[in-house]
């Protein structure tokens, strides 16, 4: 019971407090020794997370092959790729001008970029079907989105440049985009950020003090 309940609470309290006091205590022991040790722990945990991820993906795809689930054949592709890249990196190295680097730049990069670019296709379809000016607020959002979309590409300022009527300057789409991002967007982002920060602070304090224990399972 001690190892399952009290011990994790003590670890959480000690590490949580040590990370907080680094911002307030400038003593070298705190600034270098304690924080470096804590950061070392975090680094080691980060590396173990990679190992855990490898175990998890291997197990998931092995089960998929075993039970002949949908698209099980692609799990073999995953294992073959995993094995090939590991062997290439292990035996021939991972720097520039190695087969590993060639495979990474010629296969992995285009595949990942392509997957990410699919977003544009879904967004185009969704913009046609779902983005509607149903209320005053949604109309405002819609207009702001259109202006920012124009202002974030070269063709926007080309179509709607800064101009003037007599001595009165008229902002082009580029200036309006900058204003939207710097003023209303900054205000909203700051409000959201403060809300998130306060929520994180409250939850962290509850975890450090042992009030919030749901992470113990």
């Amino acid at each position: 019971m001690f190892w399952q309940r009290q011990f994790p609470l003590v670890v959480c309290f000690v590490l949580g407090v040590s990370f907080i006091i680094q911002f307030f205590v400038k003593h070298p022991v705190i600034q270098s020794d304690v924080i470096n040790e804590a950061a070392n722990f975090a680094t080691i945990i980060g590396i173990f997370a990679l190992v855990l991820g490898l175990y998890s993906i291997t197990r998931m795809h092995w089960m998929k092959i075993r039970h002949r689930r949908k698209d099980w054949f692609f799990s073999y592709v995953l294992f073959a790729s995993l094995l090939l890249m590991t062997l290439l990196g292990w035996i021939l190295g991972v720097g520039n001008d190695t087969p590993f680097q060639w495979m990474y730049m010629a296969v992995m990069v285009p595949l990942s970029s392509t997957m990410f670019s699919l977003l544009a296709f879904y967004m185009a379809s969704a913009s046609f079907r779902a983005f509607r000016a149903k209320s005053f607020e949604s109309t405002l959002l819609l207009l702001a989105a259109i202006v920012v979309m124009l202002g974030r590409v070269d063709i926007g300022p080309y179509m709607f440049p800064d101009t003037s009527i007599g001595n009165m300057p008229i902002w082009g789409v580029d200036e309006i985009t900058n204003w939207l991002l710097e003023i209303p967007n900054t205000a909203a982002s700051r409000g959201i950020g403060l809300g998130i920060a306060l929520g994180t602070l409250a939850t962290s304090l509850k975890m450090i003090l042992g009030i919030e224990r749901s992470y113990l399972g």
């Binding site: 680094t43 970029s113 967004m123 046609f128 983005f131 124009l150």
Partner: protein, 274 residues
């Protein structure tokens, strides 16, 4: 089913086809328009321009292959400016998938300037998990110990006299995630270092409050930010090439939004009149 209803329930594949044509056509045609520089990009450019030769900066390429089209041109443009000015670059990444990307771009741009990979002008230390940004504030040599090629950092000319972040003028993080906040919080706030970020287009709005508060000295946002930077250093490359496609895609999406809303309002009016 009315014509309008049919249009709204059109097979999405037709929309995808139109998007594909809109993206591919400017690429093949090499459609280029003048680029207007935004204030956050100009701020970063001026910040680096103001550094004397032999200054050191940290360039953390915290991105993975999925965001390469937006962020790799930023790395290239920043490295070109630094190498042209004789600024020494300490390359690193907090993303394990960024390791191969980092070593590729640093070596490639260095070759353009005939800079040998001897650790005098640049060094790339590869991947380390996130907590290292706490440790580099205290002892950067002890934190990394060796570079990507397993050379002792102490033996590299540009690392002579380096202990911690005090010997670096600027830290730049390029990422498609929220890792930029960690750079602002630790090297920026705790160690008072100047921080700049390069982020994907979708994250741009999140970082504006930090520009206004002075916690960021500059920001490159999305492909447009990279294209603006290429324009400033007068070396047009991948970002500028991609802006034609991005322009066409944005115009198409705006037209689709307008078309969708026209259909919606006509349908609503028809329903009300019945």
């Amino acid at each position: 089913m009315s014509v309008l209803q049919k249009l709204l329930t059109i097979n999405p594949r037709y929309v995808y086809l139109v998007v594909a044509v809109a993206v591919i056509f400017p690429m093949v045609w090499d459609l280029r328009l003048p680029t207007v520089t935004s204030p956050p990009v100009e701020m970063l450019y001026k910040e680096i321009e103001s550094l004397p030769p032999q200054s050191r900066i940290i360039l953390s390429m915290d991105y993975d292959p999925s965001t390469v089209p937006e962020l790799h041109p930023m790395s290239a443009a920043l490295l070109r400016q630094c190498f042209a000015k004789g600024i020494r670059v300490f390359g690193m990444t907090l993303n394990i998938q960024g390791q191969s990307l980092g070593v590729e771009i640093m070596d490639r741009i260095a070759k353009e300037f005939n800079i040998p990979n001897d650790g005098s002008q640049y060094v790339f230390v590869g991947f380390r998990p996130g907590p290292v940004i706490i440790q580099i504030g205290e002892d950067i040599i002890e934190t990394f110990q060796t570079d990507f090629q397993k050379r002792d950092l102490r033996s590299l000319p540009m690392m002579v006299g380096v202990k911690n972040l005090d010997q670096f003028e600027l830290c730049i993080s390029l990422s498609g995630t929220s890792v930029g906040y960690s750079w602002i919080a630790t090297p920026g706030t705790r160690y008072r270092k100047k921080i700049a970020v390069g982020v994907t287009g979708i994250l741009v709005s999140n970082f504006y409050p930090y520009l206004q508060s002075g916690q960021l000295v500059g920001m490159l946002g999305g492909l447009k930010g990279a294209a603006e930077y290429e324009n400033l250093i007068q070396h047009e490359d991948k970002a500028k090439q991609g802006m034609g496609s991005q322009s066409a895609a944005h115009i198409l999406i705006i037209l689709l939004i307008i078309a969708g809303n026209i259909i919606y309002f006509v349908q609503r009016r028809q329903a009300e009149s019945k």
